[in-house]
């Protein structure tokens, strides 16, 4: 379990708080989506949850961060790193730059955890297969396309089998198939008991993936609830968040005075699954 209690944070050299009194709990096995406008504080929330802020980049933190019941405030970065993984928004920032092949890149994490060679190789192979990028194994990491780099970064995180995982827009550069495979992998990781925090603008993805969704606006959590209810909330647009396509279309049809039943049976998500 990853827990933030009345957490406020300001970056080093700045007086303005970017996060204000944030309370957020991620239970074991739970996938929590975080949405909000640009500059609302989503990426900062990721850095604080993973201990990089203030651990690596300084700044001022108030409140408590607890992981699996252990108070983490003030703890060194390496203690966070063994409990929670983080995937940055820009995959190019995350590639280590010290490996010559994608396989080595994905194996680097488990190797640094001190795992035996056989286990390291097995985990790297499994992670590449999970995201269907085994054919990239021999490629040079710096020659990957943006989307391929993003998949490699996520494979690297999966190979470490993190207790908990924080991802900042993990599918921003992915094609639909890559996005789908990442969704499957995240559900598997959550099923193994990990708490997951996923920042995304793609509410269509969060719709099927998350148990809960929190909305962040100007550094505060303004709404936190069941995914379906949050995505239906009429205030989303004012917070700079677009509803999923199924909800937008429902509304557009209703606004035109058409019978909403007209969309039944068209594969539009929740209604047809029900």
């Amino acid at each position: 379990m990853l827990k933030l209690e009345t957490v406020s944070y300001r970056y080093a050299g700045y007086a303005t708080k970017v996060l204000r009194d944030v309370d957020l709990t991620l239970g074991d096995g739970e996938i929590v989506g975080v949405v909000g406008a640009n500059e609302a504080g989503k990426s900062t929330l990721c850095l604080v949850g993973a201990g990089l802020a203030p651990g690596s980049i300084g700044g001022g933190l108030e409140g408590r961060v607890t992981i699996d019941g252990v108070a983490m405030t003030g703890r060194p970065q390496h203690e966070f790193a063994t409990r929670v993984g983080i995937g940055f928004q820009n995959p190019a920032t995350q590639l280590s730059g010290v490996t010559g092949s994608v396989f080595e890149e994905v194996a680097l994490g488990p190797m640094n955890l001190g795992l035996p060679g056989r286990e390291t190789v097995a985990r790297a192979k499994a992670a590449l297969a999970t995201l269907d990028i085994s054919d990239l194994a021999e490629r040079e990491p710096r020659r990957l396309s943006g989307g391929q780099a993003q998949l490699v970064v996520i494979a690297s995180l999966l190979a470490m089998r993190p207790a908990h995982l924080i991802l900042d827009e993990p599918t921003a550069q992915l094609d639909p198939e890559g996005t789908r495979l990442v969704g499957v992998a995240l559900r598997e990781l959550a099923a193994s008991g990990a708490a997951l925090l996923v920042v995304e603008h793609k509410t269509d993805l969060l719709d099927g993936l998350c148990d809960r969704i929190a909305v962040i606006d100007a550094g505060r959590i303004v709404l936190d609830g069941a995914a379906g209810e949050v995505l239906e909330d009429p205030r989303l647009e004012a917070w700079g968040v677009e509803a999923p396509a199924r909800i937008r279309l429902d509304r557009a049809v209703a606004e035109r005075g058409l019978d909403p039943a007209i969309l039944t049976g068209t594969g539009l998500g929740a209604r047809d699954d029900a």
Binding site: A37, E39, P176, I262, G267, L268
Partner: protein
């Protein structure tokens, strides 16, 4: 105005990876073209040929019918401006305003003109208030808009946007759509690479579908997203926008945009 042409273009990276094969493509001045395709299908490699950053290993790249093989990147950059996917490979200046003024300066414009162009471009992308900030103090989405402003300030006849909407919220996407519409009404050519099928269908008039370094489909959103093409789209792991899928399911024709779908539904009921 610049007409772009690729004739039988192939490209193999130095490590032996083949990225493009037999690409034939002509883009007239003023067209709005989106290139879509799975990760690694050659989209970014293709656009890097348009301003000479990459030179084809086979075939020719043409500007207004003339081969650009002998032209320097600096000269080509005055015609084709590319906003890259990763803003951090593009940003280097200590101030937002000097970052944006750099482009027009190296194109030889006087300092005052370059500064004015930078101010205008920053207003257009909504970063006017951040002109004196350090680019690295900006969030990711703002850095993306900054690199867009840098290219706009160069007033190139062709503007290429590689994944412009990643990291943008709904307002950011709406702003980018307005910028593209304004460029288009000024007669400039806009090319984009995107995985966002809704953005593509609602903003661009021509869609080029790539798979394994080749062009698989090329046509209007209504042609490319029509049901008979779905297997081809699926072969490169693409699916049409939701509005097109719903329209097909209801048998009301090809409706690549949400507004078009709702219009078609309204006609159906009346």
């Amino acid at each position: 105005m610049t007409t772009l042409g690729l004739e039988g273009v192939g490209y193999v990276y130095p490590d032996g990876t083949r990225a493009l094969s037999d690409v034939d493509l002509t883009i007239a001045a003023g067209e709005l073209v989106a290139i879509i395709g799975q990760n690694g299908s050659g989209k970014s490699t293709l656009v890097r040929h348009l301003d000479g950053l990459l030179r084809p290993t086979e075939g020719r790249v043409l500007h207004d019918g003339a081969d650009i093989a002998g032209e320097r990147v600096a000269a080509l950059a005055a015609r084709v401006g590319i906003v890259f996917q990763n803003p951090d490979r593009q940003i280097f200046a200590g101030k937002v305003r000097s970052e944006v003024a750099f482009g027009p300066r190296i194109l030889g414009r006087p300092a005052a003109d370059a500064a004015a162009a930078a101010t205008r471009a920053l207003e257009v992308v909504g970063l006017g208030k951040l002109a004196d900030a350090n680019p690295y103090d900006l969030g990711y989405s703002q850095r993306k808009l900054l690199t867009l402003a840098s290219i706009l300030a160069m007033d190139t006849p062709v503007v290429v946007l590689d994944e412009p909407t990643t990291g943008q919220d709904a307002r950011g996407v709406a702003r980018i759509r307005r910028v593209i519409a304004d460029l288009s009404s000024a007669g400039r050519t806009v090319l984009t690479i995107s995985h966002d099928m809704r953005f593509v269908a609602e903003t661009f008039t021509r869609i080029v579908v790539m798979g394994s370094g080749r062009i698989l489909l090329d046509g209007s959103p209504a042609t490319v997203f029509a049901e008979p093409e779905w297997p081809t789209l699926a072969s490169t792991y693409l699916e049409p926008p939701l509005a097109a899928r719903v329209g097909a399911r209801l048998g009301i024709g090809v409706t690549p945009t949400e507004a078009g779908l709702v219009d078609a539904l309204a006609r159906l009921e009346s």
